[in-house]
């Protein structure tokens, strides 16, 4: 059998890429992409500037079907879009409302919920947070302990969520809560929408090992949540949670991030000196870079194979998990080699350099400042979103028949 493969994007795809790129060139403020490039701290407004631009263009809900105000793009177009916004150093699209909750509401929400929440997500009126993990429920998410007790017209919610990314900016949070305490772990869970300004909701910052505040604890003490805020059926929240977790995540491998990190690595290796010569001329270090590039090259095709199958309507299965594992390892490897390339220049850490408007002289080259911090920060990607160990369990369980 002869299979003729085509690794090229179609002309239509290339035109689409150009359209996205031109739009970004035109609308993304230079000051904002500079902040992203320098790993400076982004304010709530910084995220909103970009997201409001997307709203105005009609591209914010790039995962949604057209009838709900989405783009209706196929998987390849989504992939191109994601690649271009990362290449342009745009802030990330805060995913909790538009990428996570939106699709769940479209699939399982009531008409009332869709009519109320979806337009508010599209207009960036609501900033959503994700209430999944708990101190005692990480890998084993189904063992969560936050309870919602039926009090007639409302639920009374008590418990604690953790690792809530950007929760300090959020107006609303979607939570997995236990509504049947006697059911088996995965059965008594419901999917609840909670206003952050309800009495009894408290957000506490978690400072991460790089000294930054991005994640939070969210505490619920006797929080009254109207019954109409439940999504789908009571005790069936696990189905919706899984739907959300496995929802088409074309970007899971983070290929464009690794690609831009690889370019950065090559640039730094040309400027860093070893024994008076550019580090890139060191045979062993350049071999390490080459092997990383080979891994990335293969992974990009692996990713495109999955994207392309998804464009033809095949839901990605194990590929998502495999891409998540390999994608995080490759991305972490780029941060490791960047750190190594700097040598002692990786040591200085000036927290104030990540503030907007910082314009003092850096210690060493200007690119050195964020590198070690990034290396440590990126340890999280093999932990969150279902740790790599959990991904391996999923693959082994589903594919081997052991």
């Amino acid at each position: 059998m002869v299979i003729k493969m085509n690794f090229e994007y179609s002309e239509k795809d290339e035109n689409f890429r150009k359209e996205v790129k031109d739009w970004l060139d035109e609308t993304l403020p230079k000051s904002l992409s500079e902040k992203v490039k320098k790993y400076q701290r982004l304010t709530k407004e910084d995220y909103e500037i970009f997201m409001n631009n997307l709203t105005a263009k009609g591209w914010l809900a790039w995962h949604w079907p057209k009838e709900y105000g989405g783009t209706g793009w196929n998987a390849i177009e989504k992939h191109i879009f994601e690649e271009e916004i990362i290449k342009a150093s745009a802030p990330r699209i805060v995913p909790f409302g538009v990428n996570m909750l939106g699709p769940v509401l479209i699939e399982f929400g009531t008409e009332e919920q869709k009519n109320y929440y979806l337009p508010r997500i599209l207009s960036n009126e609501d900033w959503w947070a994700q209430g999944y993990s708990e101190p005692g429920a990480g890998s084993d998410l189904a063992s969560l302990k936050t309870t919602a007790v039926d009090k007639g017209d409302h639920y009374l919610v008590n418990g604690q969520k953790t690792w809530t990314t950007l929760g300090h900016h959020a107006d609303k949070i979607f939570c997995l809560v236990k509504t049947d305490l006697n059911a088996k772990p995965q059965l008594g869970i419901s999917f609840l929408l909670i206003d952050m300004d309800t009495p009894g909701v408290e957000v506490k910052p978690i400072i991460t090992l790089d000294g930054e505040h991005e994640v939070n604890e969210v505490w619920f003490t006797n929080v009254k949540v109207p019954k109409k805020n439940i999504v789908g059926k009571e005790n069936e929240g696990w189905t919706y949670a899984k739907y959300l977790l496995t929802f088409e995540r074309t970007g899971i491998a983070g290929v464009p991030y690794s690609k831009s990190a690889l370019n950065h690595l090559k640039m730094i290796s040309k400027r860093s000196l070893k024994n008076g010569k550019p580090l890139i001329e060191d045979p062993i270090f350049s071999s390490e870079i080459a092997e990383l590039e080979i891994d990335l090259l293969a992974m990009e095709i692996f990713n495109l194979r999955t994207v392309s199958a998804a464009a033809e309507g095949k839901a990605p299965g194990m590929e998502s998990s495999l891409l998540k594992i390999k994608g995080t390892l490759v991305r972490q490897k780029t941060t490791e080699l960047l750190r190594k390339a700097l040598g002692p220049q990786a040591l200085p850490y000036l927290p104030e350099q990540f503030d907007e408007g910082w314009n003092e002289m850096p210690v060493g080259p200007s690119y050195a400042g964020p590198i070690a911090k990034q290396y440590f920060n990126m340890r999280k990607i093999s932990i969150y979103g279902g740790s790599n160990e959990i991904q391996k369990n999923i693959v082994a369980k589903a594919s081997f028949g052991l």
């Binding site: 084993d140 210690v363 932990i383």
Partner: protein, 372 residues
Amino acid sequence: MDFTLSEERKMLQETVGKFFNSNYKNIEKRSENVNLPEGYSKEFWKESSDLGVISALVSPKFGGLGGSGEDISIIFELVGKSLCVEPFLSSAVLSSTVLSSISNPRNDLITDIIEGNLLISFAHCEMNNRYEDHYIETNAYLKNDEWNINGTKSFVMNGDDASKIIVSARINGDVNDRNGIGLFLIDNDQTLKRPYNTIDGYRSTELTFKDLKGELLAKDENALKCIIKANSAGALALSAEALGIMQICFDLTLDYLKTRKQFGKSIGAFQSIQHRMVDMMLEIEQVKSAVMLASSTFETDDLTRDKNISAAKNLVGRVGKLIAEETIQLHGGIAMTWEYSAAHYAKRLIMIDHLMGDSDYHRDRFKLLSNS
């Protein structure tokens, strides 16, 4: 063969260990020391001197009570276990090694260091010399019988608080020549200082000199020999420090695996996790062995000394990465937080590979020495 510590060294280990633990009770206490104006506790430094900890790092020939490879390893393994930020490495190891290795050793200055009255930092690293012993851009010239030093030294540990600095500078030749290097002693009050903290919590400084007067300590072959010996002593100290950190990382991780329950059992009950702990354990045994070997040959000929130290530091770089990354991964999110000590141990363990030669540098040096 005997791989056990002598009674005296066991006592040293026990006394110093208790003393370190009494000050560095927890990670908050360490953060307090990091945030002091000098980046370390002067009080703790003085107490260390009174207890003889600094003296234990210096040979009796120069007024100390120790200074062997084993002594350095014992003290630094404990420095690692407590994540001490005091100038044990900069002043007590690097500077005192230079001062004792020059043709006319400066026992007067070494005594002041031991007594905790004088801090001297060793300024050799530069922005472009990576980990090299001889690549030096800073230069010195003689005018009216006085040495004048010009240039910038980077990553000078405790270079803001030290009263004196030992500076390596080029007297003649090209930046990359092995000859033509001088070592100078300068007063630190005339230098331009840019202090900062490193990502793992240690104080470092960039020092700039403009026609600064310095006293010549050593030149040419003797100067290079001193730099190499100081850097080797530093690499040995850091290897032992890393070993201490690895043991803490292992213990913290094992404790967590026993207490953290997911899927109805402790996560340590999963075989795949147990195997990873065994990998960590055996690699730590390897590091321990390499550090022991390097310690025992610290006072032999230069070639054997440097070869074994490079072996240890290379292994420390490779295994350090494994232990730091596995410690975080096996803990999960909790080890990503500032509040929990494991994150700080992991950070130091990784950054030790950015001091006194990384795993690549020491692999290359080992190759050279092993084939010579």
